[in-house]
């Protein structure tokens, strides 16, 4: 069997669906078996993901593991899959995070509106869609996954969350649908344009030439349809207000998938669709987008500092981080783009660590208000350390993974947009504040009455959190494996844009 030519992508998308089908045959009362099957499936998918990464040839740019079958020939729509380095690392992140979420949230399905079976079926279906959305090379197929992903998440938030879960779920759904509709309009536009100027197709590689024939006005309009959808998803200021509500109401595991994976679809889409399909329009809107990104960085940081609820705090830090990612993407330098892609991967894990540990804390204290904690370091040292390390990663301490990506983004932006990079760098001081303030309130100081007997992490929780922290530390010291996968793809995207990295301004002669 030739491993490099296997249909890895279809296989990895099929496995979770098979798992879901298996769940359907399990009696409703057998919760443990349900969980075991879900876990086994996600672990299997993770293994497939790792094997796929190993078989990925990172010396060749362009799409690999390509598959294409006609789906709706009348409209030129294909079931077309393929990954470049950027998509691959995001798929890898998704399939690694899902089993961790299942382990960490072993009891999350309790207290939900529906049974554990529904919960894990939703997670597995979501995993299929997460892979599909990153692997699609057909714009229409991408759109289908992009919108269909909302359904399981809607039910996960609305059915299994806490607090005002129904309202948060509806808010999330409406926001996303609004963006999705704009994108749909743009996709119809693409279809019309591609029909008018040649063969009707949704193939991303063919469509990359479309911008040379359509009018700049049309390009701008189509670009905006995509960009607004992605900016809502990412989320970029000022389209961010759904995120804190959704993150607060969702279960920690759902929040991890929501912030760690789903939001990445927004920034991934910016690279794959906005930059590739509409390079001229991207250039036109870059100043605006960079401005929004810088605002997001500082705004998210300030709101995180002011947050009283630990889940909302993490959501706001993510808004700040997504500002960095967006800024790196539109800086149009290889450092910026590689850094942004690496940032997506790293953010997935550092946010996962934060959310999972926050979830453990909330589970014990039955409250998510930061001031209800206090002195946890003496009571539950392992939990406190996990939170602290996750926090350090979030504030991009050198030696932890986020630093490499954040610094690449800043350096890459600085070579082209120095002012934006300088303002964004102030975010690192704010990051110190928004992490150390909750660390001080929750972990340090005298132990708050009522917290003296909180239990430390259980073995299952340690098993969930340990690989996340290991990845955070390992990639901080040795990011090369991922950078080697990302770099060729990033270089390709940048050169497709007609950009080259700015040369050092002072390197030779006065």
């Amino acid at each position: 069997m030739n491993l490099a030519n296997m249909n890895w992508l279809t296989l990895s998308m099929l496995l979770p669906l098979l798992g879901t089908a298996a769940l359907a045959f399990i009696p409703k009362g057998n919760v443990l078996l349900t969980k075991q099957i879900a876990l086994a499936t996600t672990v299997l998918v993770a293994v497939v993901g790792i094997l796929m990464t190993i078989n990925f040839d990172f010396n060749t740019p362009g799409f690999q593991f390509v598959e294409s079958r006609p789906w709706i020939p009348a409209f030129g729509i294909n079931y077309a899959l393929g990954v470049d380095g950027i998509a691959l690392v995001l798929i890898l992140m998704s399939v690694l995070l899902t089993p961790i979420v299942v382990i960490a949230g072993w009891n999350e399905s309790e207290g939900g509106r529906w049974s554990a079976k529904t919960f894990y079926s939703l997670i597995l279906v979501l995993e299929t869609m997460m892979i599909g959305v990153f692997a699609s090379t057909d714009v229409f197929l991408f759109y289908v996954f992009f919108e269909a992903m909302l359904v399981p998440v809607y039910f996960l938030i609305g059915g299994f969350g806490s607090g005002e879960r129904a309202a948060a779920a509806v808010k999330f759904l409406l926001y996303s649908l609004f963006g999705g509709l704009l994108m749909l309009a743009s996709i119809v536009g693409i279809f019309v344009m591609s029909t008018r100027y040649g063969n009707r197709t949704f193939d991303i590689t063919t469509l990359a030439g479309l911008h040379t024939v359509i009018t700049p006005m049309m390009e701008n309009v189509l670009f905006l349809g995509f960009f607004i959808a992605f900016a809502i998803k990412a989320p970029l200021w000022p389209m961010h207000t759904w995120l804190p509500d959704a993150a607060k109401s969702a279960t920690p595991g759902t929040s991890v998938l929501l912030l760690g994976v789903l939001d990445k679809v927004g920034t991934f889409g910016m690279i794959r669709y906005c930059l590739t399909l509409f390079p001229e329009a991207s250039k036109t809107f870059t100043p605006l987008i960079i401005t929004l990104a810088v605002i997001s960085i500082l705004y998210g940081a300030f709101l995180a500092i002011g947050a009283k609820d630990i889940k909302r705090l993490i959501a706001y830090t993510s808004i700040s981080h997504f500002g960095f990612i967006t800024m790196g993407i539109f800086a149009m330098t290889t450092q910026g783009l590689s850094g942004a892609t690496l940032y997506m991967f790293n953010h997935g894990f550092s946010t996962a660590a934060l959310f999972l540990v926050a979830g453990f804390m909330i589970l014990r204290r039955k409250s998510s208000t930061i001031s209800d904690f206090g002195g946890l370091q003496r009571v539950t040292p392992i939990m406190a350390w996990s939170f602290f390390i996750a926090g350090l990663s979030s504030l991009a301490l050198p030696g932890l993974s986020s630093f490499v990506s954040e610094f690449l983004v800043l350096v890459g932006t600085f070579t082209r947009y120095p002012v934006a990079a300088v303002i964004a760098t102030f975010g690192i001081v704010l990051a110190a504040l928004y992490i150390l303030i909750p660390v001080q309130r929750a972990l340090h100081g005298p132990t708050t009455p009522g917290n003296e007997n909180l239990p430390d992490l259980t073995l299952r929780e340690k098993v969930a959190i340990a690989p996340v922290i290991a990845i955070i530390v390992a990639l901080g010291f040795y990011p090369s494996p991922l950078l080697n996968i990302i770099n060729p793809a990033a270089t390709t995207v940048i050169s497709q844009q007609g950009f080259t990295d700015p040369a050092p301004t002072n390197s030779e002669g006065k």
Binding site: K171, Y175, P238, H240, T241, F302, L303, I305, G306, T333, T334, Q335, S338, G375, Q377, R378, P381, W385, L392, L397, P398, G399, F403, V404, F407, L408, L410, V411, G412, F414, T415, P418, A421, V422, T425, I428, V429, A432, L436, I437, V439, Q440, L443, H444, G445, P446, T447, Y478, N487, A490, D501, P502, A503, P504, T505, N506, S507, E508, G509, K510
Partner: protein, 629 residues
Amino acid sequence: MVTNSGLVYLIALPLFGAVSLLLLGRRADKWGHLLATALSAGSFAVGLFQLSQMLGRDVESRPVTQKLFTWISVGSFNVDASLLLDQLSISFVLLITGVGTLIHIYSISYMAHDPDRRRFFAYLNLFIAAMLLLVLGDSYLNLYVGWEGVGLASYLLIGFWNQKAAYATASKKAFVMNRIGDMGLSFAIMIAFASLGTVSFSGVKEKAEFASEATMTALGIMLLIAAVGKSAQFPLQAWLGDAMAGPTPVSALIHAATMVTAGVYLIVRSNFVFDAAPNAQLLVAIIGAITLIFGALIGTAKDDIKKALAASTMSQIGYMILGAGLGPAGYAYAIMHLITHGFFKAGMFLGAGSVMHGMNDEVNMRKYGALRKFMPITFVTFGLGYLAIIGVPPFAGFYSKDMLIETALNAGGVKGILLGGTALLGAGITAFYMTRVMILTFTSPKRWDDNQRPHESPALMWIPMAILAVGSVISGYLLHQGKAFKHWLEPLFAKPGEHSELLPPIVVSGLALTMVAIGVAIAVVKYQLSEVDSVAPENVTEFTHFARRDLLQDEINEALFMRPGQAITSALVKIDQSVIDGAVRGIGQMAIGSGSSLRKSQTGFVRSYAALILVGAAALIAAIWVVTQ
């Protein structure tokens, strides 16, 4: 350049200690401190071995490097994780591991009764590893890792007893203010990459001659900001006093001997940048001069022995920064003062820890007095450090400080006179406040309560103090003998320009000693020969009030940054809720509102619906009729 595969062990040993002690947890409680101390000593031994190797080579081939692996490589941005050991870094390596090991030994006894002693030693080892990475990194980005690593270790150690809310706040303050400095270092790296295309020391040095002066000035100022944050220089000095919340050995190691001097290292390491940017260099000297007076003035009013010493540290680092700002003539002396200061200040901090140990952790010097009789060894070691810091010949501080003052005076013109004069004035104030500490603690009449039982500390504590005291006595003489240290570092720096001597060296020494004598005399009159209250008197001059409140540094920071920051935060929280989310909810409200107003037309009366249908149909027919006509 020569490669050497042994450099990594310098860092690997303490790093292994930190990681294993933290991971093993309580299982390592019994022997953790021993392992940590042994690993620190091992690192010192590797350092000595490297020194002997280095001495065996001729001057050109003394620097050695070791490439560990490719760290970050994207496009033209390539940074290897590699280490560089040259004459400058070996000096630091020996200081860090040497003083560090002594402080490890001291802490075994000092922290013996703390249930978390293992954790303390893990942090100490973490600090040593990070600090070694800082001085061994061969590029600004590698240095940055160590730079923030020591910040983290400092945060953890200041907040070691973070169950006390004030200590937790102090550690957070230190980290955040350090981060402001770190931002400067980030900018410096970005500027270096964007304009020179490299971030390694050798690369920047090579390209420095091609770069415009504006670029180099910007680079220099950013490096200065970094140094200011890490070394507690004006205007980012406010965290150092609060950092005394940490256990005293930490204050000795991190906040006196090593970490806070990293700024000096950075500037001296970047000598090629500052030599190409005279304005940035002048700014360095000015910042140093301001801080040396600022710290000294705070030192005159502090009653907390550790805070008095912290103010003194700030001031002494001011001297070093001043020296580093004097260009090639001053670099070597800045580092020399750094090393002698490492000995005497660490010794004095350990002495202060010893006093606290014997006095039930009392830190207020007004509750001390007459401890000479009860703690003779501490008195002697502290006293030797005291003689060194005020610059009495032939103790260490005399040589290093004297050379700094002399170099400052010879810097030429008004600049030289102002900087040199400031340094001289600082020497006088230093003599005053250090004599005050000495008198209040050891020689004035006793002012402590009767339930205190002052006693000498155990051998494990006083032996490190004694070794450091010996260093305080002889290190200056040894380093200055035949200008040995200057010649040792010289190959790394550009040749200093010729300067005419403003005053002959002997006159400068005379002036400095006169200032010292005046300072000592005032302190003796004020504290030895007159009664000292055991509570701080309130009827003092306005200036003393200011100095007690650290010359209002916290008030200024709060007014300028903290409160506006809090105001912005709470304003943005409100805006996010009301304006942005309000707009979103407004759209939802609009949909609901329009629905409920349209709903009113649905009366439920079948006949009105029928009438409406009739009217509608008629209207439709009429419309069709009109159109088709």
